[in-house]
């Protein structure tokens, strides 16, 4: 048990180490079908619609970006709600916002009169608004109305711009309203989006100096960007407090939306392409999120960074990130895999013409370069850059690869952000051969003269050895990679297992040439708990770069160990199969009281007959004595009573018979009570009558 626990702990440590090492060179993949199927699984309408307009918008926008067309069945249930919200005079700015942006995707049939009414409402709301969120909802709603073809113009654009800008802080963050002193990065994204909408809704050109100030704010905001070790960049709030805290994903998504929206109206921003690449990597490094909000934020923010999507603004003035990813990080020498590299946009669309060069491939453990400056060839059909690694004679192992991306067209450098260099981690695996394996038993003092048996681990023949406690066992072998070098795997263990399932595990030591272990049974006698008998020899060799890791039974060894002394420790109890307690329990054989021996039936019946004999004798005796019924009363009423008296006694005896056969005591007593009362009455009458007649006779 302790040994198993040790293995688990060791393995967990290995996993942690592997994860930490991978974080240095994360393997990110662009948005793929995995995201599409996750979207279909997460966004599931209940009874044909989603719980709220906001969630409906999130679902439909995600489907729209990912190219999953699913709007037709939703619109039937949702359009009436949208219409209702737009027509209601008491809707809040947030409700208008949700309804209008949803309508932008659904395209419900709404008359232009409704839109004009809503627009006039919104103009009034903008005049009265004092908080950032109200201004944001109202302004964006107006923008959506403009997108529907209804004219919506902000007359006092400068005023609105100013009131939004007034809430900004010096570090590039924004406050939610003038009363609240706390500033938030999420609010900054909201504010930038609102400012962009104001600029595009303005009837006259907004003052360029004001726009310049906002650009400056954006640069300040980017100063507070945070980063992880693997080069991903993200935004987070300064303070993490309770209910208002939105995580890094939501905050970064909000900032990306705001910045890209503002860049579309304001012209080129002074943000280095590497920062946009870092933000794109952040969104991709999440993988496939598990919640609807996270998936929406990820996809929506990435679509802002991608140019080919049908975004809200037609073109962007922010560098488009290009991602380098490896479709397969485990390459096998046996199946002659090629090193394949993809350079695409975040959604997997084709990149402009470029060249990928493997600048350096170095072994992960030793950090020595094995390859330098290899140019990858481009496969135009599959849009993949590849390199044949087999002729390069690289051995199995774990490698860090460093790539350099160079665009062919120098003008693309302004449009796309490649980040120049990119890192990746790759495993090269192959079959390891076990060579020159030998095993043998020898006496302690005669090592050189030992006869060793050759082992061929490719075949399944098991060797049989025998040893006593004065001898030793030796096992040696070499491990050779496909390229012929010596290989040192992570795990090389020898296990000896006794018939009683007690196991002992030994690690093999490795020298430059070979692996060797010598088991000195004299020293191991106590470790083996003095258990003699047949031990199974298992050899376990494993490594991540080894395709044929194995646990093989080499054979058996019969050990003859001395008797255990009195104080010797007992072998630990072997773990019972934990599921065995759910199996059937041992059967309990109940010991029933054996029934008493009964006499044979014939004897019992004969004695029953014998018991009747005295009764018969009694009746015969009565007849001989000359009993008669002369004393029976002759006149009717006393006769009746006498008859009833005898009948009553007979009834009581019958009741006793029933009591013995069927009834219980209480019912009997109840019946007896009734009969007894009757009997007493009748008996008294009879006997008093008899007494009076006999008294009359006496006096006569």
């Amino acid at each position: 048990m302790a040994r198993n626990l040790g293995f688990v702990v060791g393995f967990a440590a290995l996993i942690c180490a592997a994860l930490l090492s991978i974080s240095a060179a994360a393997s990110i993949r662009p948005i793929s079908d995995a995201h599409r199927s996750a979207a279909l699984e997460l966004f599931v309408p209940i009874d044909g619609s989603f719980p709220s307009l906001e969630e409906t918008y999130e679902a439909l926008r995600t489907f729209q970006i990912l190219g999953l067309g699913k709007t037709s069945d939703i619109s039937n249930a949702t359009c009436p709600v949208v219409l209702d919200k737009l027509r209601s005079p008491t809707s809040s700015p947030k409700e208008f916002f949700n309804a209008l942006r949803l309508n932008g995707i659904l395209g419900c049939e709404i008359g232009s009169q409704t839109f004009e009414n809503v627009a006039s409402h919104l103009h009034a709301l903008i005049k009265d608004a004092d908080s950032l969120m109200d201004l944001y909802y109202s302004v964006i709603s107006l923008l959506h109305i403009k997108g529907q073809g209804v004219s919506a113009v902000l007359s006092d654009a400068e005023g609105v711009f100013h009131s939004i800008k007034a809430l900004s802080q010096s570090d590039g963050r924004w406050r939610y309203d003038s009363n609240n002193a706390e500033s938030s990065t999420y609010a900054a994204g909201i504010a930038l989006e609102a400012l962009a909408a104001v600029v595009s809704l303005a009837d006259a050109e907004v003052d360029q100096s004001k726009i310049g100030i906002v650009k400056h704010d954006i640069e300040k905001l980017f100063d507070s960007i945070k980063s992880y070790d693997d080069g991903t960049l993200y935004f987070d709030e300064k303070h993490v407090d309770g209910s208002e805290y939105k995580g890094p994903l939501t905050t970064t998504a909000s900032v990306v939306r705001g910045v890209t929206a503002f860049a579309a109206v304001a012209g080129k921003l002074n943000i280095p392409g590497d920062k946009m690449l870092g933000l794109a990597k952040f969104f991709l490094s999440i993988g496939v999120p598990g919640s609807t909000k996270d998936l929406f934020n990820q996809i929506d923010a990435l679509s802002c960074l991608e140019s080919n999507r049908q975004g809200f603004f037609l073109w962007y003035r922010i560098s488009i990130p290009l991602i380098l990813s490896l479709p397969a990080t485990v390459l096998s020498l046996t199946s002659k895999d090629q090193l394949k590299v993809e350079v695409t946009t975040v959604f997997g669309s084709a990149a402009p013409p470029l060249t990928v060069i493997l600048v350096q491939a170095s072994s992960y453990d030793k950090d020595t370069p094995v390859l330098e400056n290899q140019e990858l060839q481009f496969d135009t059909e599959n849009n993949i850059h590849y390199l044949d690694i087999l002729p390069l004679k690289i051995d199995v192992g774990k490698y860090t690869l460093e790539f350099e991306i160079s665009l062919h067209d120098p003008e693309n450098l302004n449009i796309y952000a490649t980040g120049g260099r990119a890192n990746a981690l790759a495993f090269l695996t192959g079959t390891i051969k076990v060579d020159k394996a030998q095993i043998g038993v020898f006496d302690s003092d005669a090592e050189s003269a030992a006869t060793m048996q050759k082992l061929d681990l490719s075949q399944d023949n098991r060797i049989s050895l025998a040893a006593n406690h004065l001898q030793r066992m030796r096992l040696t072998f070499q491990l050779v990679t496909p390229l012929g070098h010596n290989f040192k795997p992570h795990q090389v263990f020898l296990k000896l297992r006794h018939e009683s399932k007690v196991e002992h595990i030994f690690a093999l030591e490795s020298s430059a040439r070979q692996f060797k272990i010598i088991l000195d049974f004299l020293g191991l006698v106590e470790k083996f708990y003095y258990l003699s008998g047949r031990y199974e020899i298992d050899l376990a060799i494993g490594d991540a770069a080894m395709e044929n890791s194995f646990l093989r039974v080499l054979g058996y060894i019969d050990l003859d160990l001395p008797e255990p002394p009195e104080k010797a420790s007992r072998p630990p109890p072997q773990p019972v199969d934990p599921y065995s307690r759910f199996g059937p329990k041992p059967e309990i054989s109940h010991i029933f009281r054996s029934p008493e021996k009964r006499p044979p039936k014939e004897l019992s019946f004969s004695f029953l007959a014998l018991t009747i004999v005295p009764l018969v004798g009694f009746l015969i005796g009565l007849l001989r004595l000359g009993v008669n019924f002369k004393g029976f009363p002759s006149s009717s009423v006393p006769a009746l009573f006498s008859i009833l008296f005898h009948a009553g006694i007979a009834a009581v005896l019958l009741l006793y018979g029933l009591f013995w056969l069927k009834l219980d005591l209480f019912m009997t007593l109840k019946a007896l009570g009734l009969l007894g009362v009757f009997l007493i009455f009748v008996g008294h009458r009879t006997l008093s009558h008899l007494a009076s007649t006999s008294a009359k006779l006496k006096t006569n």
């Binding site: 008493e596 021996k597 009964r598 006499p599 004897l603 019992s604 004695f607 014998l610 018991t611 004999v613 005295p614 009764l615 004798g617 009694f618 005796g621 009565l622 004595l625 000359g626 009993v627 006694i649 009581v652 005896l653 006793y656 009591f659 013995w660 005591l665 009997t668 007896l672 007894g676 008996g683 008294h684 006997l687 008093s688 008899l690 007494a691 006999s694």
Partner: protein, 115 residues
């Protein structure tokens, strides 16, 4: 001597029989009843001796019913006997009524104990 013993015994028995013949009939009936009850009890004891006393409660209730009813009959006999000075004022019907009642109670208990 033996002859005189034998003849003495015979004379004793003869006198006993003649004296017994003089008892009233109703007392003879009661005596016969007692003999009947005791005979039944003896047969039950013999049976128990043969087969063992396994349902001991049944054996007891059987034997005690016979013995009990015999005892009650003896009490009846002594109460009904006209020569008995002790029960001069007790009408025989009353004694009979007591006999019947006590028998019924006895047999209720016996039936309960029979099992």
């Amino acid at each position: 001597m033996a002859k005189s013993n034998a003849s003495d015994a015979q004379a004793l028995i003869r006198s006993l029989r003649s004296a017994y013949a003089a008892t009233p009939t109703n007392l003879k009936i009661i005596d016969l009843y007692v003999v009947f009850a005791i005979a039944t009890a003896i047969i039950q004891v013999v049976y128990m001796g043969i087969v063992g006393s396994f349902p001991f409660n049944s054996f007891l209730s059987g034997v005690l019913s016979c013995v009990g009813t015999a005892v009650l009959a003896v009490c009846l006999r002594s109460q009904v006997n006209k020569e008995n000075k002790e029960f001069k004022d007790l009408p025989p019907e009353r004694a009979f009524a007591d006999f019947v009642l006590c028998n019924l109670v006895l047999h209720l208990v016996i039936m309960n104990f029979l099992g």
